[in-house]
Symmetry: D2
Subunit: 306 residues, 4 copies
């Protein structure tokens, strides 16, 4: 595929209740790498196999949740083009100068119909993945905790799934890989801008701008077990898993950061291509769509959000 468009989820800014506690968790248990702390106390983190400066930013706040989800686009021309197209779609955009967000170029900010604040940018400082680019190895040394390879996607909750879906597909060039329908309504949309089965998902609830979960990728089911053991050893609140999703087929475990933001570690899932058929799950099959092994809903998965 050519490189004109949105490349990937680039970073999220997450609201945490206690920055010290959050940093300890994300560095020592989840195993992300701290790359900076700014004058306002925000902590910048990356997963080990990412080359960009950061993918997770922790920001102390009175309530947990997601402040911004930002996507990296292929180049500055694309950034401009997409800003125009978002405006043409009827959504206001705001332009921020380079370095008004640490280590990052110009940013275009907008709010999607589900109430989530998104940003696009085309440049971020490269810090590398801890291995040389000439004769590298296969894993960086001295990793801690779960150390997923990369930040993978967010699932976001809001009232106008159809609206955000249209924005992402018609304007931002995402494709719908899977969806959940209740009668004529799409109550969840799994959207890809890559060969991954999703880069962002929108889930319906009568709220605005809420976070369902942040997801991090590991190599395999064996690494999901390792993650499960580590969250248990560290007394991290567990929600569900290890299990498999029907949607995306991913192997997964869910748990909560110290502020109550839901995290996922997952592996697997199929290779998405834009000409692959869209998969549809009907709401009566939602239990299987979510938790393929359990085939029943749990108490919290559809109700707890931040």
């Amino acid at each position: 595929m050519s490189n004109q468009g949105v490349l990937r989820p680039g970073h999220v800014i997450i609201r945490v209740l206690d920055i010290h506690e959050a940093k300890d968790y994300y560095v020592n248990v989840l195993g992300l790498i701290e790359t900076a702390q700014d004058a306002n106390g925000k902590v910048y983190l990356k997963a080990w196999d990412e080359h960009d400066h950061h993918s997770i930013v922790l920001q102390e706040a009175d309530e947990p949740g997601i402040e911004v989800m930002a996507f990296k686009v292929s180049d500055e021309a694309t950034l401009k083009r997409l800003a125009n197209e978002i405006e043409n779609f009827g959504i206001k955009t705001e332009l921020f100068a380079a370095n008004t967000h640490l280590a990052t170029g110009k940013r275009v900010r907008f709010t999607a119909p589900t109430g989530h604040v998104f940003e696009l940018y085309s440049e971020k400082e490269l810090v590398g993945n801890g291995m040389p680019v000439v004769n590298p190895g296969v894993k960086a040394p001295n990793l801690k905790g779960i150390h997923p390879n990369n930040f993978d996607h967010c699932a976001l909750i809001g009232d106008d799934v159809e609206g955000s879906y249209k924005l992402f597909v018609n304007v931002l060039g995402f494709q719908l890989a899977e969806r959940v329908i209740a009668g004529d309504n799409m109550i969840a949309a799994f959207l890809s801008c890559s060969n991954k089965p999703h880069d962002v998902a929108f889930i319906h609830a009568p709220v605005k701008g809420k976070l369902h979960h942040l997801s991090f990728a590991v190599d395999s089911w064996a690494h999901v077990l390792n993650a499960a053991d580590k969250i248990a050893e560290n007394e991290v609140p567990h929600e569900i898993g290890p299990t498999r999703h029907g949607i995306t087929r991913g192997e997964t475990i869910y748990f909560f950061d110290p502020s109550g933001n839901r995290n996922e570690i997952f592996s697997g899932g199929y290779l998405w291509y834009p000409d692959r058929p869209i998969l549809t799950w009907t709401v009566d099959e939602l239990p299987k769509a979510l938790f393929f092994h359990e085939r029943k809903l749990n108490e919290t998965f559809l109700s707890v959000m931040t």
Copy 2:
């Protein structure tokens, strides 16, 4: 990423010495699914999780090897555009009408500087992956043998790696993910048109149009073990593995089909993005680049080709 361009390796036509023996191997041991046999005796096969009509075509011939590698492009406009650009690059193209290759639309054929015949097409009949598109499961029933998820890539051998590299990068929109250099010469190029670390690789030898291997993807290292056990149980000639590549980090095993064409089963590898640094291996580190665990070359891997 937007969908303008080459999507993926779509199919390869493989020359086999005995079509019955080959079919038995590819269906019962490798576990591909036969979708058709044409009037000329060619056998059409797909991996279970592919939706397109076929990805491997077996054609009886006096010598093994690869007849054609074909890529699916996003749409007909792209097909025309790329045909023009290939001609502009100085390489002749030939246009074939729809259905002159079974279940496939118009095709553009050209020969790369390494002597390999490639085709582009934008349409192929969909046959599905054996599961419904509404409330699907996670795996098709009644699979046999190794049953990889999908055909993944080819490694091809020829004399003008630099030439084919330029064609694929400058014209077809591929990116260079990794390369091996000997002094100033690029002796191997691993090229991606996706988020996979390679969709095609070119390896230098003073020949034209040769095949190093066809590769099929499985979910994980546990499935590589299963493949290894199955090739042993079926007395399939083994070359090397299970092991890990330095290049791409993939977990891998190599073996040969009954005609001597090299097959690979692999899993893993990192997520490729066009802004990820190109990795370079120097020829003195080739043993590690190829076989990360063994760190030594074997007798056949660089000499046997079809």
Copy 3:
């Protein structure tokens, strides 16, 4: 260790509500191999890597549950010695002639303080594991379903855990590997007659002769995933897992046969030796002892029995 004593769980007779439905499940989903059906309609099954004639016997009845758990002992002298020692311990034994249970030698029957009927025998017809004993392979061909390697253990529920514990340790030569205590009371005892962390477990409830679960062993966590996928594909009622036990460290999933008898597929666990320290779990840590990842009890695990 010398071979004087109880070798292993040899077979269990399980009560099922519908023999046809039960057989279909145990053969096609669980993947056991049918070796015989007797004149009374009882179905005899073995796991693929067992050499003995059977390890599971299905017997139609009005209520589910366990009829008999039988242990193979090393030889006939041991059988006689243990029968005497059981009598000396104050428990009556009953001797059955060879072949009064299909393909099995003389049997000594007794009822343990928890109300479970046990048998000992020293001979059973060998049918092999589907591979030759000269130049065997590593796996029998044509296996179906989950196909665990072997029947591994039972967990049994009854009122006098202390009593059955004493019988098994002081008379039958088992060792206590782990236990759960509530104050001064041992409410669960995990007993080994091998290098496995348990061959039988007793769990307290104010009942007699009840079954908690039958457990079957697979090679690894990857096979537990495969089992989980297969129980989902076959709509087998799921209880909990994939997860890890704190007790024994085993990787596990629980589900129910069509009659409601609980089955487990598990892998892993440490190597037990008689000089290894006994591990004790206090009842307040029971959630972690049972489900190391979840660290909470579910609704059914401690209440549903057959």
Copy 4:
């Protein structure tokens, strides 16, 4: 099984050329835990999940190899009984007082027909596995390198395999699980004193007292991959693997310590019982027996010994 007899391989004393280099390797790469260094410079190590004081002792010497392999027996009465029976078998024994080997009780030493020095002992100081015995976790914290669970077995090379076999089976109570025959000669014997498919193996060559390899156990094939990656990252000399053995079915990788002593990391293998049929491999099938995937011998495996 009752506990009268040989329990397990307790420790080996390994000759290394440079104690500092050896200690660095066994602690930081293999991931054993140092428990003591004695006045003579010997280093005592244990695998993390062993409770005994040590299982590997490093002793500086001019040549690599194995000095002693010691088995733990169930109690002092067994120690005396076995000493007598060894003498009756016609082999001299030597008795050493408690604590003449660090942290270890009385020892009985003898030399087997293959020229290997063995010892038996019934007592060794317990140091635990790094977790409490009340409400333990599932893994000790702060482990390094490969950190196998336990030392598992040795394969030893000598001229009189039949002689050592008879000693181990007729006197020490081991069972023959598998063997390789060349015509009427048993050229390799795999002997178990447990439910593991081997605790010691004897392989024929016209030498006395040589070491083929020391083997350490990990949980699964996923951990064998981790071991393979770590030996590569640390530039440890690799021999073969990851692969599977035909003999024992174990998943395996072989490599060499800095002195040239061969090490193995393995997982899997079936559950051995004394009534399981002995498996026989004929010498023409030796390639498959050794390396089930490769099905060919390599240059070093049958020739390099220390």
